[in-house]
C-alpha cells in the first residue's frame, strides 16, 4: 500500500509535531513558496527559538501549463519546516521523517546535492542542498544566513518538501495528475487531477490570457502604498501581508509577459525594498 498524498501530509505533521514544532495552517494569502509565510521569513530573524511546520500551497503563475504538463503546476504544495536554531542532528531527523512517510533510504538513493538558495525579492539567502530521491529533487534543505538583508543569529534550518514530487517518488507515479490523493477505493477514490486539474486549467488561462494587466499594475501600486503606510504605522504583520500581495502581483505580471527586462528588475527591487522595511520593523520590535 503506497502512502497517499493526504496521508503524507498528515504523517509529516505528526512527525514534526513530535519533534516539538507548532503545526500551523497555510498562510491565507497568495504566496510563491512556504518561505514567504511570516512564520518563516519574520520568525527566522531575532534570537527567539522557534519550531514550526505547515503546508503551504504555493503559486507560480509562470509555471502554469493548463494541466497538460505532467510535472509543472500553477499551484503546488510545499511542506515547510523551520527549526531555529538549527539542531545538530537536523539531517538525521529529516531522514527519519522520510522513513516515517514510507521512503526507505536503504531502498532509494538519497543524496544531498549542493544548492544554495536565494530569494531576490526577500533579500534572503542561505546555503544547503537539494535532497534527491532517485534523481528527483524532493526537498530543499537550507541553513538561512540572512533575511531581508539582516543576518540570522542563531541560524535556522529550513526544510521545504515538494509534496507532489515527494509523493511521486513514494508512489512511483509519473504524472502528477495520477497521484493518489486520498487512498480510497472505488467511487471515493480521488486523484490529484480530480482535486486540482480544474484550478490548473482555469488559472493558467487567467494568467496567460485573461489577466487584465492595467488592473494588476494598479493593484501593485495599491499594495505597495498600503505596505508603506502600514510600515509607517508600525503594524508589521499587516505591512508584511501587503508586501506578499505586491510580490504575487509582480509574479502575475511577469507570467503575463508584460514586463521588459529592465522593468522586471525594477519591480523586484520594489518588492525587496518592502520586504526589507518589514524586516527592519520586525527587528526593531525584537530588540526594542
Amino acid at each position: 500500500m503506497k502512502t497517499d498524498f493526504q496521508t503524507i501530509i498528515l504523517k509529516l505533521s505528526e512527525f514534526w509535531s513530535a519533534e516539538g514544532c507548532v503545526i500551523l495552517q497555510p498562510y491565507d494569502a497568495e504566496v510563491g513558496a512556504g518561505t514567504f509565510h511570516p512564520a518563516t521569513t519574520l520568525k527566522a530573524l531575532g534570537p527567539t527559538p522557534w519550531r514550526a511546520a505547515y503546508v503551504q500551497p504555493s503559486r507560480r503563475p509562470a509555471d502554469g501549463r493548463y494541466g497538460e504538463n505532467p510535472n509543472r503546476l500553477y499551484r503546488h504544495h510545499q511542506y515547510q519546516v523551520i527549526l531555529k536554531p538549527s539542531p545538530d542532528d537536523v539531517q538525521d531527523v529529516y531522514l527519519r521523517s522520510l522513513k516515517y512517510i514510507g521512503l526507505d533510504p536503504l531502498l532509494h538513493d538519497i543524496r544531498f546535492v549542493e544548492d544554495d538558495w536565494e530569494s531576490p525579492t526577500l533579500g534572503a539567502s542561505g546555503l544547503g542542498w537539494e535532497v534527491w530521491g532517485d534523481g528527483q529533487e524532493i526537498t530543499q534543505f537550507t541553513y538561512f544566513q540572512q533575511v531581508g538583508g539582516f543576518p540570522c543569529d542563531p541560524v535556522p534550518a529550513e526544510l521545504t518538501y515538494g509534496l507532489e514530487r515527494l509523493t511521486s517518488v513514494v508512489q512511483g507515479i509519473e504524472n502528477v495528475y495520477d497521484l493518489d490523493w486520498n487512498g480510497a477505493q472505488g467511487d471515493a477514490r480521488m486523484t490529484y487531477g480530480d482535486v486540482a486539474l480544474q484550478m490548473e486549467q482555469e488559472f493558467s488561462a487567467f494568467s496567460f490570457e485573461q489577466l487584465d494587466a492595467p488592473i494588476v499594475f494598479r493593484h501593485f501600486e495599491d499594495a505597495e502604498a498600503m505596505c508603506r503606510h502600514l510600515v509607517e504605522n508600525k503594524l508589521v504583520l499587516p505591512a508584511y501581508e501587503y508586501c506578499l500581495k505586491a510580490s504575487h502581483l509582480f509574479n502575475l505580471l511577469d507570467a503575463r509577459g508584460v514586463l521588459s527586462v529592465t522593468e522586471r528588475a525594477n519591480y523586484i527591487g520594489r518588492v525587496r525594498a518592502l520586504a526589507r522595511q518589514c524586516c527592519e520593523l520586525w527587528m526593531e520590535n525584537v530588540h526594542g
Partner: protein, 696 residues
C-alpha cells in the same frame, strides 16, 4: 616516528569544492609543520562528500630542541642599549657571548627552546588549520559564530594511536568516526590510519577520491559493455560524481525511445547537467537509449530496481519538457525571436541584445569584406546568432545556446554555413577548446567579442583583480585564439576602431564614455596583456620573449604574426646559439650605449669597407651584408623560423669578432667604423626581436 590522523567530519561538502579543499589542507598543513620546525616524512590529504582528512607520517614523538641566536648591540654600545637587550632576552650580562664581526664585537645570546612532546603542539596546529581554511563559500549554523562549508559534526584526531584532545565548533576531538550514512550509520573507533582506511571500507566508504574515480569509470564502462555500448568520455562529470558518493554503485537505465528523435544535445544536457547521468554510445558512436547512473547505495535483493525506475521516471519528465519546447520553438521562425531580444538588455548602458545583434551584423560584414569572405552569409548568421536565447529550450537549458540556434536554423532551411556559424560563434568555449575553422563562424565569433569588449571598455567596465563579472578576460582570450587564424589579415587597431564606431555613443547614457582613441588604446593594451598570458599558456613562451617581439613589431601587427615571431624566438633561445648570440648582443649594445653616451652621438652610420682592418671584422661585415637583407626578406614573408635560423648562423662570426677585435682603439676612424659595425649587428637582430628585452 609516529603519525597524526586528523579528520574533519561534516555534512555534505559540495562536490565542486572537494579537490580544492584536499589541496588547500595539504598546503596549509605543510606550512604549519615547517613553521613549527617539526620534521615529517609525508603529508597526505583525502576528501569524500562528508570528510576532509589529513595524514602526517613520520613525525617525531618529541619536537626538536631549538637554538635561537639573538644578536644584541656592540659591546661598547651605550649602557641603555645593552640594558634593553638584557631585559628583552632575560639573560644577565655575564651569560652573554661576545662575537667578533666585521663591524666590531657584538653581544649574543643563545636561547634554548626545550623539546616538547609533539602531542602537545598538535591541538594548536589543528585549530589553526580549521581557522585559516578558506572555502569558496562558507556558512554559520546553530548558535555558533565560526563558519565552515557545512556544519562540522565530528573531529577525529589520533597521534601515535591516542586521541589528541581539543574542541572546536562544540565538537570534542575523539577516536570516533562514521561510515556510510545509510549502510553503516553507527559510529566506530579507529586506532590509526591503516585501521581508519580499512574500517571506512568495511563501513562502505572509499576514502581515496582517485580510487572512487577509477572505480566509477570502470563500473560505468562495465555496465555499458554489458549492452555492447560505451560511455561518453566526460572528465568533468566524472569528477563531479566522484564528489557526490562515498560508495559508488553503477546502474543502467533506459531512455524512453519516443525521445530518441530529439537532437542529441537536447537529450544529453538534462542527463549530464541536471541528473549527472553518463550518456552511452553504440559502436557507431551514436547515442544509445541508455544511461549510466552512479548511486551512493547498494540496495538489497532487487539490485536497485527501484532506484533505476525512479531515475528513468525523472529523465522521462525532463525529456517530456524538452520535447514540448522543441515542438513549440519550431512553430515560429527564428527571425521572430529577435523581437523578444529587443526587450532583453545586453547591458543597461549598452542597449538591448537586438541592438547588439545589429551591431555585430554590420561589423561582421566589414570584417568579411576585408578578409575576402562572403558578407551575405555572415550578415544572415549574425542576425540569427542570438535568436535562440529567446527560445523556450534555451530558457530551460542555457547550456544549449548556439546549439539550438543551429538546429532551429537547419529546421527552417538556412544554409549549413549559417547554421554552423550560429553554433560556432561561441567557440572556443574555454582555454584549449576547439576554435572554428569555417570562415563565417570565425568572423562572427570575432565580431561578437570585439563588440562586447569595446562596449564595456568604452563605458569604463574593465576587469579588476578577481572581479570580472562580464567574463571580459575570457572574451579577450577567445578573441586572440580566433585571430590567430592566418585568414585574419586585418590590423587589430583598425578593427577595434570599427567596433567603437558600431555603437551610437551619442544616444547612450552611460556615466562614462571614453573617446575612440582612449577606448581603442585601453582595449589594445588589455589584449596585449591577455596575449602574453595566452602565449605562455598555449606555447610556453616566457613573458620577456613576447615583450621582445612586441617591441619591434610594426604599429599594426596581427596576432598570428606576433605568435609566430615569438615561437621562433622561443626556438632560438632554447639552444646554445641563442644563448651566445644574446651574450654577444648584450655586449654589443652595452658598448654602443656607453660610447654613445660618452661621445654624445649615435653610431648609426654605415660601415666603411675600406676602413675594416682585422680579418674577423671583415668577415662579420661581409656576413651581415649577405644575411641582413635575407633575414629582412624572411621576416617580411612571415617565415620567422627561417629568419632566426639565419640569425643563429651569425654566432661564430660574432664570437670571433669579440675574441679578436678591440672596439675602442686609439685610432678614431677604426673605432667609429667598428661601432657602426656593432650597430649594424644590433639592427640585424632587431629585425626579429628586441633582444634587450630578453632575459639571459
Amino acid at each position: 616516528m609516529a603519525e597524526w590522523l586528523f579528520e574533519i567530519f561534516s555534512e555534505e561538502i559540495p562536490s565542486r569544492m572537494q579537490q580544492g579543499a584536499q589541496d588547500q589542507l595539504k598546503t596549509l598543513a605543510e606550512g604549519h609543520f615547517q613553521a613549527q620546525g617539526l620534521p615529517f616524512d609525508t603529508i597526505r590529504t583525502f576528501v569524500t562528500p562528508r570528510r576532509l582528512t589529513l595524514l602526517v607520517e613520520g613525525l617525531p614523538l618529541q619536537t626538536p630542541e631549538k637554538q635561537e641566536e639573538k644578536k644584541g648591540p656592540r659591546v661598547d654600545a651605550p649602557q641603555a642599549a645593552i640594558d634593553g637587550f638584557l631585559k628583552t632576552t632575560g639573560v644577565p650580562r655575564e651569560k652573554c657571548l661576545v662575537q667578533e664581526t666585521p663591524k666590531g664585537n657584538f653581544l649574543f645570546v643563545i636561547k634554548q627552546e626545550p623539546s616538547h612532546p609533539t602531542r602537545e603542539v598538535l591541538p594548536s596546529i589543528a585549530l589553526s588549520l580549521l581557522k585559516e581554511f578558506r572555502w569558496p563559500k562558507s556558512m554559520r549554523w546553530g548558535h555558533l559564530s565560526m563558519s565552515w562549508v557545512r556544519p562540522i559534526r565530528g573531529l577525529l584526531s589520533l597521534f601515535d594511536g591516542e586521541v589528541v584532545p581539543f574542541s572546536y565548533a562544540n565538537v570534542d576531538a575523539s577516536a570516533t568516526t562514521y561510515g556510510h550514512r545509510f549502510l553503516a550509520p553507527l559510529p566506530f573507533e579507529v586506532k590509526n590510519f591503516k585501521d581508519y582506511e580499512q574500517k571506512l571500507r568495511d563501513h562502505f566508504v572509499i576514502l581515496d577520491a582517485q580510487e572512487r574515480r577509477d572505480l566509477i569509470r570502470q563500473e560505468i564502462t562495465r555496465i555499458a559493455q554489458e549492452a555492447h555500448l560505451k560511455p561518453v568520455k566526460d572528465d568533468a562529470l566524472l569528477e563531479e560524481v566522484t564528489g557526490l558518493v562515498e560508495w559508488p554503485i553503477a546502474l543502467k537505465g533506459k531512455v524512453d525511445p519516443q525521445f530518441m528523435t530529439l537532437p542529441r544535445e537536447v537529450i544529453t544536457t538534462p542527463m549530464r547537467v541536471h541528473q549527472r547521468y553518463f550518456p552511452l554510445l553504440d559502436s557507431d558512436g551514436k547515442l544509445a537509449p541508455y544511461f549510466g547512473v552512479i548511486a551512493n547505495i547498494q540496495a538489497p535483493n532487487n539490485q536497485g530496481k527501484t532506484i533505476v525506475i525512479g531515475n528513468e521516471r525523472v529523465l522521462r519528465a525532463r525529456l517530456a519538457d524538452a520535447q514540448f519546447f522543441w515542438d513549440q520553438d519550431r512553430k515560429k521562425p527564428l527571425d521572430n525571436f529577435n523581437t523578444d531580444l529587443k526587450t532583453r538588455l545586453f547591458h543597461q548602458h549598452l542597449g538591448s541584445l537586438f541592438d547588439k545583434v545589429e551591431r555585430v551584423s554590420k561589423l561582421s560584414s566589414r570584417l568579411a569584406e576585408k578578409m575576402g569572405a562572403d558578407p551575405k552569409t555572415v550578415v544572415r548568421a549574425a542576425l540569427l546568432s542570438k535568436a535562440d536565447l529567446a527560445s523556450q529550450m534555451v530558457g530551460e537549458f542555457p547550456e544549449l545556446q548556439g546549439i539550438m540556434g543551429r538546429y532551429y536554423a537547419q529546421a527552417q532551411g538556412e544554409t549549413p554555413e549559417i547554421a554552423r556559424a550560429i553554433e560556432e560563434h561561441y567557440w572556443p568555449k574555454g582555454a584549449g577548446a576547439p576554435v572554428p575553422e569555417a570562415i563565417p563562424s570565425l568572423i562572427l565569433g570575432i565580431a561578437d567579442r570585439l563588440d562586447t569588449l569595446m562596449g564595456f571598455f568604452t563605458i569604463g567596465i574593465t576587469p579588476t583583480g578577481s572581479k570580472d563579472p562580464y567574463a571580459l578576460r575570457r572574451a579577450g582570450l577567445g578573441l586572440i585564439a580566433l585571430c590567430l587564424n592566418p585568414r585574419c589579415n586585418f590590423s587589430m587597431v583598425d578593427v577595434l576602431e570599427w567596433a567603437y564606431e558600431g555603437y551610437p555613443w551619442s544616444e547612450l547614457t552611460a556615466p562614462t564614455i571614453k573617446s575612440k582613441k582612449e577606448a581603442v588604446e585601453d582595449l589594445w593594451q588589455f589584449l596585449l596583456e591577455r596575449f602574453k598570458f595566452f602565449l605562455r599558456d598555449t606555447q610556453g613562451s616566457p613573458y620577456d620573449h613576447v615583450e621582445a617581439v612586441l617591441s619591434v613589431a610594426h604599429d599594426n601587427p596581427t596576432f598570428s604574426e606576433l605568435a609566430l615571431r615569438t615561437q621562433a624566438l622561443d626556438q632560438l633561445m632554447d639552444g646554445k646559439d641563442g644563448e651566445n648570440l644574446l651574450v654577444a648582443y648584450k655586449r654589443a649594445s652595452n658598448i654602443l650605449r656607453i660610447e654613445e653616451e660618452k661621445d654624445g652621438r649615435l653610431y648609426e652610420g654605415s660601415v666603411s669597407k675600406a676602413s675594416l682592418i682585422a680579418l674577423e671584422e671583415k668577415t662579420l661585415s661581409d656576413t651581415l651584408e649577405t644575411k641582413s637583407p635575407e633575414i629582412q626578406h624572411l621576416v617580411q614573408q612571415g617565415d620567422f623560423i627561417k629568419a632566426v635560423q639565419n640569425l643563429a648562423t651569425l654566432r661564430p662570426y660574432v664570437d670571433q669578432f669579440f675574441d679578436k677585435v678591440v672596439v675602442n682603439t686609439e685610432e678614431e676612424q677604426t673605432r667609429t667604423n667598428r661601432l657602426h659595425l656593432l650597430a649594424y649587428l644590433r639592427k640585424t637582430l632587431h629585425q626579429v626581436a628586441d633582444f634587450s628585452k630578453v632575459e639571459g
